[in-house]
Each structure stands twice: as C-alpha cells, then as structure tokens.
Amino acid sequence: MKAFVMVIMLLVITGGSIYLVKPELIEEYLPDSITGRKVVKKGSRKAKAKAAKSRKVAAEEPRKTVKETTPEPEVVKEEPTPAAEEPAPAKQEPAPRVVTEDIGDVPMVIKNIGIIKGEEWADCAKVRAKVGEALARELDKGTTAEAKKFVRKPKNRLLLAQWVVADAELRSEEEVTSLEVEYNSQLDKARREFETCKAQMEKGDSSAAVKWNFEKARESVARYEGESKCAHRFSESAADEGGRRLMEQIGGDPDWLEQFAFSGECVRPGMALSIIKKIYKQHPDMLKNRMVRDIATATALEYAKSGWNQQDAVERANFYINAWKDERLNKVFDNLPMWQRRMVCGCKGDNPFGSIASLTWALDNFHLPADRYSGSCWRCSYRLNNIYGDSIHGPLYYAPFESNLGENRQAMTYHIGGVCGSLSHFGCFAALANGVPAMTAGEPAHCSFIVLVGDTWTPAYSLSWQRGLHWQVFRRVHKYSSLHAATELYSDKQKKETEVSDTLRVMAGVHAANGDFVKAADCYEKAAKEQPRNWMAWREWRESLEKNTAATAKQWLKLNDTICKELVSLYPEIAAEHMHHGLAEGLSKVLNPEQLQKAYMTFWQNVKIMGPDRWRIEELADKQAALLGFDKDSQKVCAYYAEVLGATAGNSLYAPAVLNWGNMLGEKLDEAANAERMQLTIKALSKGRRMSAEERGKVLAPVIVSAETNRDLSSFQSLAKMLKRAGGSKKESPYKMPRIEGFPGKLASADGMIWTSSTCEWDKPHEHPGVLTPEGGSFHTEKEEDSYVVVQLPRQVHMTGIVLVSLQNQGRLANLQIQVSENGTDWSDVCQLGAFSGQMMRSDLDGKRPLAKYVRILRPGGPEFFHLNGIYVYGNPAA
C-alpha cells in the first residue's frame, strides 16, 4: 500500500512539474489511469472524434526543418561520409498499427467501368489474380497486333492499370514494412530526445537553448506520431467507407488509374490513396475538378514513392491547388503531362526548400518567364562564409537565422547567401514554386539544376556533363538521358507505341506471376521493341530472367542483343545503365569468357550517337573489363581496350572517350605496358599503318577536334597526355617561349581545353593542347570577322590575370577583348587589351576578379587570322 501511494505521489509530482512547463504534455504522456482519460474503443464515435482531433493537432504542428549544411555532391559515387551517429536500435517488428483515416461521406461522382469494386482493393493479391485472369483470356495470343487492338478500349486500359497498381502494392510491401520500422525508430529517437530535454528543464535549466531544443523535440515527436497513424497500404487506406468509395472511383476510372500506373513509377499506391484521402478532405471538389484531382494525385504518388511525411504532402498539394485556382502559376503548368506534374508537385518533399513558406515566398518574389529561372540562382550571393564568418561547410552558416527564416529556405538563401547547393536549390525551387518543371542535379563536387524551357531541358549553373539527377522518373536511374527518354516516352507523338508497349509489358508480368517465364520473356521482348524508351519494360525483362533460375544463356543474350540493337542507337547512356543495373552481371553468370566478351562488344559495335550529353563511357568499359576479369591482367585489358577502340575508331564521338579510357588504364600500368598500349592505340586508329610523329599528330588531330567540338575536356586532356607520351621524353618543343610572369593564384587553365571559331590549313589541332602549357603550342583560325579562342577551365575561378603569348605576327592581334562566361554561351566583357609589346601580353584582373568557367579571347573586326602560342589564365577556385 505504501509503495502504491509513493508511486502515485511520484507520478503526481512529475506530472505537476511537466504541467508547469507544458500542460498539454500531461495528456499525451501519462497513462489514462492517471489523467482520468477514458479509453475509447476503436471504431466508436469517440474514437473517430479523437482521431479527427489528432489529425487537427498534427496538421497545426509546424514542420520540422532539415538543416542543409553542405552542398549536395554528385549522387552516384561521391556522397559524403555521414558523421558518426549513435548506434541504431536493433531492428524490430513494427507494432500492430492503429490507423484511423475516415474521411466521412464521399459522393459517387465517377462511374466505375471495371470489374473491381472499391472494397476489393483491400486485398491486392486477389485483385491482381482476378485481373490477371481477365487479361490472360483477352490477350491469349500475346501478339503486338492483339495488344494494339486491345488497348483502344477504355475498359481494357483500366484492366491493365489495375493489374499494375495491384502488382505495385504487392511489390511495395517489403518497402512499406522497412519504412514503418524506420519511422518507429525515428519516433523512439525523438521521444528519447524529448525526455532528455524534459529532464533538463525539470532540473531547472530554463536557458534559451534548452527551451529551443525542447520545442524542436516536441515538434519532432508530434510529426512522427502523426505519421505512425497514417495508412501505408490499401488494406488500411481502403478499409473505411470513405476510402472504399474513393478507391471505387479511382480504381474504376481508366484516366485516373492510368496516372497511378503509367506516369512513371508506381510505388506504395496504398499510401498514395491515404494521401489523396487527406487532400480530398480539404478539397472535395477533387472529384469534379480535373486539375485539383491531378495535383492531388501527382503529389500523392511522389510522396508515396519516396515515403515522405503525409501531412507535408497535403500541404504541398494545398499550395499548388490554391496557387492554380488563383491563376498564379506559370501557364506551362496547365498542360504538363502527369510525369512532369509529379516532378513539380512532388520534388524533394523532404527538403526545406520545398516547405510551404519557401514555395510561397518564391511564388511571390520570383515570378519569371520559364527561360529566366536558369539565371535566377545568381540573385543570391555566392558566399563561402556568412556574415559571422562561419563556413558553409559547417552547421553554423544558417544557424543564427534559423528562428526567423528557418521555415523559409528560399528567403534565407536570398538574404544570407550560400554556395552551389543553396544557389541551385534556390533557382530550382523558384521554378517549381511557379509550376515550371525543374530539379537539382549532382556534379563532381558541385550541385547544379535543370529547368524545362519550352521543350528543352536546360542545365543551369552546370560545370560538367557528369550529371546525376536528384529527382528520378525511373527509380534508381540518375542519368541525365533518362529525362530525355521519359520526355519522348510520355509524349503525344509516342503515345500509341508507349500504350502498346505497356500492354505487352503487363502481359509479360501476368505470365511471370504465373511462373511462365518463356511467355513472359517473349512479351517483354515485344514490349521493348515496340517502345525502346520504356525503361520499365527492359528492367522487368531483366528481373524476370533473374528470378528464373532456369534462364538460359540464349535468353540473356537475347536481352543483351535487343538492347544493343534497339536502345543503343537511341539512348546509349540508358542502354549502358541496364548494364550497370544487372545485365552485365547476369550475362557474366551464364556465358563463358569468350561469349561474354562478344556480348559486351555488341554494345560498342552498335553505338553511334552520344545522346543528350556526354556520358560515362569509360565507366562502362571499366565495368566490362572487370567482369571479364581483365582488370588484373594488363595484357588482356590492353587487348580489350584495343578491341573497343577498333570498334569505335571511326566514330568521332566515341573515339576520344575510349582513348580517354585507355589513358585512365595507363595510369595503372608500368612503362612497358603503356608503350604496348600506345602501339595498340596507333594501330587501332591508323588501322595498321606505320607513322611518324607528325603523322601520329595528324591521326589524332580529328579526335582532338572532336573532343573540342563536344566540349569533352577530359578526353582533350587525355589526348594531350597521349601526344606527350608519343613524343617521348627527348622531344623538345618547337616553340621558344618567353618566360611567363604569372598572377596571384593558380594557373587555372593548366588542365583546361581550348576551341576556336574556325580552323584552316595552317592550323595543327594536335598542337592545341600545347597552347595551355609552358612549352607552348599553336592554333590558327581562318581569316574571318570576330575570330576567337575559348579556354574552358576545369573549374570556376575568380580570375586574377591572363597572359597571352604570340611568337609572330603580333600586328594582327590589337584590341583583343577578354570575355568570361559561366556556361560557354552567355558572355560578359571584362577588358580590352591594347597592342602586344613584344611576344607577351599581360592583363591584371585582380581588381575585378571576374568569375569564369570559360574565358574567350575575341579578336574583334577583321576579316583577319587569329593565332596564339600560349594562353595562361590565373585565378583562385570559386567553388
């Protein structure tokens, strides 16, 4: 009895202390027996009212902001090592979930023209089986002609979409469970932090810091608790009357359900329904207003795909619905295809730039035509340190402004500044807030962004073609080409092919689900051939081979050969991506070395075009060499390199890149092996003829010009090294260069590239690389007006000066103009030079320190030739 009284007293004292601080905490965290709160049965009126109140409280809680401390690096390989964190608690089975999401009465506005009722969606295995049977009956021949006829009818399109959505729900179960475990873990962590802060306050620590942390912890707990009560599956979201009626209409309308199934990846559709339900509660006109419905669906699909907070999804959808209703968005938003609408409404749902405060500020303050967003990032100041002197590469850069601007990262960046990560996010979200598709992208040690301008994806603040997308239309495909492939895949022009392809893909899925992998492979092949841009068709084909333990070498080769034939000629980077995503490994398990090498070579024999931009050709070649086991054997890897070079020597787009790969291999080889490699290179390029140094230069000249034309700096530099090696250590420069007196900072142009306005009979492209070296080189344009040479720097710099050397005919070179650019297209004047005094011209730019990634030396007027023997740009790195 005494013990019981003491416990009660302890609880009362504890509760009283808490009550003094935050009375509302009492109810949340003390047992019902103490608070006198009555236990409410699930399903009762009180339970529903309580759930509604919880939802209201959750809706009113401010969002937790996520601090951005460093610029986002290139996605695929260069993720920074995370700071050490406390050990994660052991994984546990999620607790039984209590989900209450009743949204009340939902009118039946849209007719269900299909065979699946709303309540059936609670069991997707049955839905998939039922729809699968119907499809198998209708598409028993499995031919393309049959598919073409089938897909014309809306009822049939609905069947296809139903199968995909049900299948997606089943595929998603593992991910949903992982997400729940993760959420529970985060909730536990938040609760522990809350308890810690609570304890500190109970001890009498009422400092601003502790109060701040306490509030943050409380918000965090509410946020995760709110999420833990949300539905994640159809069995939860379609369990109540409102959900069933909503799903009856979504699942019964081909237009609506196709958005789930065929506008990109369908992941966790049950969670998407849960989000749509919440949005419906605030926008019941969704059932009659097509745009409201589209915005809700786009947002829900994206947030479900990434497993982001559902309340955030509702707020995001609200923003776009209200902005659209007020007619504030850029007109392009009205006609966006669903996959782009998903990008706009659902981009980076977990990023503070996407908070409602940020988006609202951007819509109010950066309202621009679509083609101006690419320059909008420069309205913010590029600053490595804030006004307190704290570095962007630490946690304190934005910290002093958190309480005032923490929710509004756009305003924060505008007023405080940042570096590439903040600036690119600023520009990207300025576009997104106004309804213009955009996304950020990772580049080596840099963050850029991409904006849709008209029909063209336009990189902005971009320093490299090595771009990894931060938003993916196809899961786990970060490649830039995927954006272009998706644009075509979902275009009106390709609509018929895409629909037929998806029909065949679904049929393949039905066969695979029934264990008939032969029929599945046959349908996948037809699907992929019908629409080679259909990433999902290729991926699922490969996955079915992986699941089929009896898959033969012939079947794998079929996939490989079809990719090489159908896709390599359209999007070689995407074709290579299939290699990286398992095709290369799959082949290596079923083929002998000789067959495998032949299979890999099929790619190089079929590649013709580059695609939207240069891609990581060297990476593919490396991977193939590794899977062939050649990476440990210098002779074999050189032989493979020679074979690949032989296949691509005639292709001016690929030869420089393969040469570059050869040079990368050469860095790991000894001198003898490198000499052998050089011989193989020359043999491959010259097709066996013996050559002098001059001839060698001439053979490499077109490859150098190609590298320059393609703005392929890494290949240009590789060729420069190759030329140097070919010359041997005894070679002297033919140019007697003066001693170069530089400027403060580094010689920024050392590892750069040049290209000129034209070439002529006196130009020697194999001497272009030397122009950037102390040994000198040369370029020579045609006799023309406004001739120029451009130096592309390896990285952006603040220039401190430039030195030009010309060993002859300096009279032609008066009044040269120095210009700089960030993108190689838009130029700003820096200064005009006078006449050459002697062989050298120096221009001190330390006072101006212009920011440059490209430096153009323009010879205005003419017509006249333009030639130099040395260009040396000095400066300090800017990024």
Partner: protein, 293 residues
Amino acid sequence: MKNIFLTTALLLLLTPLSASAYTRANSVADARSRVTDDGYVICTYAEDWDKYSKSTAKQMMEHAAIKKALGRVVLLTLGVPNVSSKKDNETNKARFENFDLSFPNAYPAFIFYNKEGHRLADVCITYNERKNPKAVAKRISAVMEAAATQRDLLKKAENASGVEKARLLGQAAAVPGISQPRDVAKKIKEADPGDSSGMHKFVTLNLPEAAIISADTKDWQATMAEMKALMDHPMLTTEHKQQICCIMIGLLRRHAGDQGQPQMKALIDQLRSLDPDSILGKSADDAARMWLK
C-alpha cells in the same frame, strides 16, 4: 484682354499637371529626344505566361497615383514571352540599345534608369499589390525621390573639386533605395587620391567579403580593432554597423573563449538594438541562445 489673361492663366494652371505626367515613347530614339531629368522607365510584363501581368501593368500605368509618382519620366514598355527566341533577344537588344535589360525578380515591374541610361532600381509588383496601386505608387515615389536626391548631389559634385567633390559623390552613392552612380569609386579616387574624405573606403566597403577574410585571419585582434575603428565611419548605415557587429561576434566566438563573453554579449545587444526587426537584428536572439553562456 480679359479673355487672353484668363486663357493664359488657365494654361499656366494646367501646364504643371500635364508636365508632371510621364511621356510614352515607342522607341529609344524617340525616348532620348524627349527625356527629362527624371530619366526613363521600362514597364515590363508577362506576354503570355501569366494571367494578371499584362492587365496589371496596364492598370498601373493608367492609374492617377502611379502617373503622379512617375513624374516626367519617359516610359517604354516591354512584353516578355515565356521563352524568348534568339531573334527576340537580338530584337530587344537592338531596340533598347544600351539599356540594361537583365530581368527583374518578378513581373510586372517598373525598371528605372537615369537620364544617362544607368539602371537605378526595380519596382516589382507582387500578386497582392496588383489591387493596390497606391502602395505601388508609394514605392515608385520613394525611388523617384531617391533618384532626385542623387541627381542633385551629383550636380553639386560636378561643380566641386577635391575632397568636397569626393564627399558629395560619396553621399550620392549612399542614397538608399537606388544603385550607386556609375564609376563612382573611380571618380572619388580621382577627386581625392589620398581618400582623406573616407569616401572611397565607404563606397568600396564590402563587409560580407570582410567576414570571409575574418574567418581565416591570423591576427584576430587586429581585425577586431579594424572593425571597431570602422564603426566610427560617419557614412555607415545601420545595416553596415550590424554587419560589423556580426563579424566581431564571430571573431570573439572563435578566438576569445570565455573571456570574450562580456564583449560578445554587448555586441549582441548592440546588434539587436540597431534594428530589431531586420534579419540581422533578429539573428541576435539565435546568437545569444547558441553562444552566450
């Protein structure tokens, strides 16, 4: 006689009203032939990608308060499509000659230039302001007044020399709400090579850059002294002083340890009191929370 007198009086009465209205020009050549001291304004708006922009721009241009606020500027208009072609850009460049057409932050907007074509300020009209022309007129008036003040100072500077000229140029540069006059630093240096007026230091002051440098300074106490001395410069604005406070707070935090706490507290209080509602002023509370013990 009486009629002539009345007519003349009437004309004289009406002239100031019409003289205060802006003049529409169709081309830059036309505008240049009619420009007054009030300079030029380009009213730019969305052509096809925004529902409200064009009509808002039109309404604003026709509103009496806006007309009054614009004084005797010469007004040109520029519609901007969602995607400008290369031809569009070349046409505009030719049409607007040397005018700086870099885009404002939002459309529609009034972009102000002085008589010499130097860009002074942008007044962007937000969505909420589109039904409040008087608020826009107020902002336009502020720009026009600032431009007039700067103009007067520059005129005086033209007739002055040496330190006095430098001082006047510095004051012209310090007029809030508009950009500094073109090449003002160079002109101040020419007038006052030794910078005894302190104006060259003022117009070239770059405190954010100073903050970056302070992060790596080897002699933080010297930097502190430098900042302290700078605080006494007579031309400093409130924002300048707040920036100096921030730099000094950062230095103390990184280098002075516990001994720096009293001084840091004093600076945080000063930062706040200079302008509590500004972004820097509001950061004082976060700074106190994070760094004061």
